[in-house]
């Protein structure tokens, strides 16, 4: 095979085979490559791995021939009978729209989190959009009742601003202050909004003897988006804030779903005066469905079932989505080759 022929044959391979090849040639980094970079990597290592590559091409050709030879199984007789007929577009879109208005009732986990704060620190790790703000607001309300200062931190100035507006609406502007890197509005208010960096600096000052703002009466520190602890550049600030957080204050860590919330909770328990309570769930309050939209405008479910598969290993693509996507891949690769 010439290099051109080889490249052509590679381009015809399905992504999964390309990936396997890439991995054999370039190791695990190949698993993170897109199709173009994979092709490039494989071509770069083609000389030394020619047998492997040809084997993959033969496998693919054999598969294609086998597919062409066996007629598709008719309707219900397929081996996928157990999983039932694949869902269709109607099922995907069924029930779309605005739900009946319902009075606001806090979820169990929200109540649990607020109450657990009476006894110690709390970590909340739930999917985005679940309603962590409710927990923050209720906890703030309770701390205010006990005349304690509340600090709310977020990773971004923009978020601090939004929360500032929101808290002003709920508690009244005279009770809410905001501190940013270069500015302080109402810094003696009982509720203070700031970025995590600013709180860390305040804690440094307090430890150094310069008691600033109202850290002596600090009763609650809310750290929103606390999954930022794992941020390569800024994560250290979250850690410092937690380590230096005065022991009389309760910590409320609000986080999107993360892989190891129990580890974080165990850590907090090991360094803080009271045990840390973990509130976590993976349940989405509004159910999610996944669809596949082909460039020609055709919409199909992405998975066989309309509900989301519980894990990647149980995720089976909808046959139509699979067919369309494969077609798309072939088209774009062909277009690239000829153009």
């Amino acid at each position: 095979m010439t290099r051109d022929e080889l490249e052509q044959a590679l381009a015809d391979l399905p992504f999964r085979l390309l990936r396997r090849l890439g991995r054999a040639i370039a190791g695990p980094p190949a698993l993170r490559m897109g199709k173009r970079r994979l092709m490039h990597t494989i071509m770069a290592g083609a000389e030394a791995n020619i047998e492997r590559i040809e084997a993959a091409i033969r496998t693919h050709q054999a598969e294609q021939q086998a597919l062409a030879a066996v007629p598709a199984p008719a309707g219900g007789a397929s081996s996928e009978h157990k999983s039932g007929k694949p869902a269709d577009q109607r099922a995907l879109l069924e029930g779309i729209g605005v739900p009946e208005p319902r009075p606001f009732v806090p979820d169990d986990w929200q109540v649990e989190a607020v109450e657990a704060l009476e006894r110690g620190d709390v970590i909340v790790s739930v999917p985005t959009g679940s309603g962590k703000t409710y927990v923050a607001v209720e906890a703030t309300r309770r701390a205010m009742h006990e005349d304690r200062t509340v600090v709310y931190t977020s990773p971004l100035k923009a978020l601090s601003n939004t929360k500032y507006t929101e808290f002003c609406k709920i508690f009244g502007p005279e009770f809410v202050g905001i501190i940013t890197g270069d500015r302080r509005d109402n810094p003696t208010a009982p509720i203070l909004i700031m970025t995590t960096e600013i709180l860390r600096n305040l804690l440094y000052d307090a430890a150094g003897g310069e008691i600033d703002v109202r850290l002596d009466t600090l009763g609650l520190v809310i750290i929103d988006e606390s999954q930022f602890l794992g941020d390569p550049e800024r994560g250290v600030v979250w850690e410092e804030t937690i380590i230096f957080c005065p022991s009389q204050a309760r910590l409320l860590l609000l986080s999107a779903s993360i892989g190891n919330p129990q580890e974080l909770a165990a850590w907090l328990t090991s360094i803080r005066p009271a045990p840390c309570h973990l509130v976590r769930h993976q349940h989405r309050s509004v159910p999610l469905r996944a669809g596949y939209l082909h460039p020609n405008g055709k919409l199909t479910p992405l998975f066989r079932t309309v509900t989301m598969p519980p894990s990647p290993s149980q995720a089976v693509l909808h046959p139509e989505a699979k067919r369309l996507f494969t077609m798309f891949e072939e088209d774009t690769l062909y277009a690239r080759r000829s153009g």
Partner: protein
């Protein structure tokens, strides 16, 4: 992106299927802007009622954010009900788009994945068009947590009974990444703890050095490392038990003795290995490459002056005399053949390894050689046997008379593997347990050398104020202050320099010219950063971006629009640059007590930056 779905078509389909409002995630700001531009020629504008509701929201927000008044995208958003949302926009514009979205006024927003965390920006549908994201020049797959953040925006509580994540393909999309992202468990969060100079100063301000270790022990970093260490310790115990099972024999240090022997064996073997490193035909030539030998290279001939191998190198080298008296170094492997001709000459003990007379004589000989000369036929090199190695090590061979020797010989390899693993783990555990503390001590000693800490690791006068600078590159800034670099500095120059230090993006662009004063201050800063390079990573230190901050501070009549026109930088980036500059300046401003003059200049710069758009948000 030709083969992907056209943005107008996409929004039409979404509208048809009642999948709006939707957030369409794209990889770059540019693709967001282009998607929006595609609507310029779209024919069906929104109904007047919907247009009015958008106008009403924007008007309402304009009271708080005057920059919305004449925003160039206003018309477009109002007419089409679609918008873009990315870091190139001003915060006020992003707030407006978020608010419009919350109120359900828009049908679609084209956003970059940086929208990820925190912002309350939900929709009925999210559209995923890519499986990767650009990070520091490179393109990497979206993590599961990122896909979860994106899909988390689909489905608003109270407004949607179902949320949708719609995948639409684009070239190079890896569907597997998205499937994993949609169905997998998010990655664990791992500690990214690092010990920075301000941390050292501030900790030592509040605590004596001997308390520090227990404070560091409270970090999540240490918690995770302890868990790792505990895991390894378990393994170490097992390895220890395994080692015990090799009974001590006549002596207790048989492993050490045998290791010493093994070590010596390896050393000798390595020497041989180095020779073996060459292919057999090259190896076979080695004995012939004595001083005075004529050799042929692909393009010329030469005479070998000496043969050697540099320390740590595996390749045999030669010093060769070439035509015209040139003396050059060349790997043995480069020669094409050994020519059947040698010259006797007087060698020297240093370069050029021959006496001057010999050298000129050899040069002449080389010239005079006939055109055609035959190569020597070199017999292939024999393979050296391990046996030779052992033979030459005879006197090192352990315990020649010990009755246990056969057993030891048999078990040494296995036992030694266990012991090495044991050693390795023991060392790892040690560094896991004490690494942070050592790093802290290392940093503290540097600060001591630089004069921020006294011999007792207490803050010196310089340390007392330096600990108030808690931004990136704090060491650079405090060292500049100590070196009097800011003596008589003007507010625009100080602002310009802080902008240069704070800005860490290398996106190219055009900017207003910087003044000579700023240029020389940047040069001084660069020299300082280079000098500090062993202690701290230097900033990117782009001089050009400083021009923006300098102009904004020096000419207070310049409007935001004029500033934007003077550069190719997006206004969101200019805003971020200036707001970072504000942050840096206010750290300098915090040094009032010790550096009143500098603090005054910083205060002046701060107040001049804060105007117009920069005044809109706290």
């Amino acid at each position: 992106m030709p083969p992907s779905i056209h943005p107008v078509h996409l929004v039409t389909v979404l509208r048809q299927k009642s999948l709006t409002p939707a957030i369409v995630f794209l990889t770059s700001r540019r693709s967001c802007d282009e998607a929006l531009q595609a609507f310029e020629h779209a024919t069906d504008p929104l109904s007047p009622a919907r247009q009015e509701s958008i106008t009403a929201v924007l008007d309402e927000l304009t009271a708080t954010y005057p920059s919305l008044q004449d925003h160039p995208l206003r018309k477009m958003v109002t007419a089409c009900g679609v918008a873009a949302h990315h870091a190139g926009h001003l915060p006020s514009w992003k707030i407006a788009i978020e608010e419009l979205m919350r109120r359900g006024c828009l049908d679609a927003v084209f956003a970059t994945t940086t929208l990820a965390a925190g912002v309350d920006f939900p929709a009925r549908t999210v559209v995923l068009t890519q499986s990767g994201v650009r990070r520091d020049q490179d393109f990497t797959d979206l993590t599961i947590a990122e896909v979860a953040q994106i899909s988390g925006r689909a489905g608003r509580r109270g407004k949607d009974s179902v949320g949708f994540a719609i995948v639409t393909p684009s070239p190079y999309m890896d569907l597997g990444v998205l499937i994993r992202g949609l169905t997998g468990r998010p990655e664990p969060v791992d500690s990214q703890f690092i010990i920075a100079y301000p941390m050292v100063l501030n900790l030592l301000k509040a605590h004596p050095l001997d308390h520090i270790q227990s404070i560091l022990a409270k970090s999540f970093a240490q918690y995770q490392m302890n868990a790792q260490a505990a895991h390894l310790e378990h393994r170490i115990e097992k390895l220890h038990a395994k080692l015990e099972s090799y009974q001590p024999r006549e002596c207790s240090d048989w492993l050490t003795q045998w290791s010493a022997y093994g070590h010596a064996t390896r050393q000798t073997a390595m020497k041989l290995q180095a020779r073996r490193h060459h292919p057999p035909e090259v190896r076979a030539r080695l004995p012939y490459l004595t001083p005075g030998r004529v050799v042929a290279f692909p393009r010329f001939r030469g005479i070998v002056l000496r043969r050697y191998r540099s320390r740590g190198q595996r390749h045999e080298m030669m010093t060769v005399l070439r035509k015209g008296g040139v003396v050059a170094e060349s790997p043995v492997a480069d020669i094409m053949g050994v020519i059947d001709r040698t010259f006797d000459f007087a060698p020297a003990s240093a370069f050029p390894w021959a006496t001057p007379e010999a050298l000129s004589w050899l040069t002449q000989q080389l010239e005079d050689l006939p055109k055609h000369l035959s190569f020597l036929t070199v017999p292939p090199a024999p393979d050296e046997e391990e046996g030779e190695v052992v033979k030459s090590l005879g006197d090192l061979f352990p315990c020649p008379t010990c009755p246990c020797r056969p057993t030891c010989a048999k078990e040494f390899k296995a036992a030694n593997t266990v012991k090495q693993e044991w050693l390795h783990h023991t060392r790892t555990v040690q560094s896991l347990r004490t690494g942070l503390w050592h790093k802290f001590q290392e940093r503290a000693e540097i600060l001591q050398d630089l004069g921020y800490l006294n011999p007792a690791f207490k803050l010196t006068a310089d340390g007392e104020w330096a600990r108030l600078i808690r931004i990136d590159f704090s060491l650079l800034i405090t060292e500049l202050i100590r070196a009097q670099a800011f003596k008589d500095v003007a507010p625009p120059t100080l602002a310009g320099l802080m902008a240069c230090i704070a800005y860490e993006n290398d996106r190219p662009g055009s900017f207003p010219r910087i003044t000579a004063a700023l240029a020389s201050l940047v040069a001084a800063t660069r020299r300082m950063a280079d000098a500090l390079a062993p202690y701290d990573d230097p900033p990117l230190l782009r001089a050009d971006v400083g021009g923006l901050a300098e102009r904004w501070v020096s000419e207070t009549t310049v409007t935001w629009a004029q500033l934007c026109r003077s550069t190719s930088m997006a206004e969101g980036d200019i805003y971020r640059l200036l707001s970072r500059t504000l942050e840096y300046l206010s750290q300098v401003h915090s040094l009032q007590a010790t550096h009143p003059d500098l603090a005054t200049v910083a205060a002046e710069a701060l107040s001049r930056i804060r105007r117009g758009v920069l005044e809109e948000l706290p």
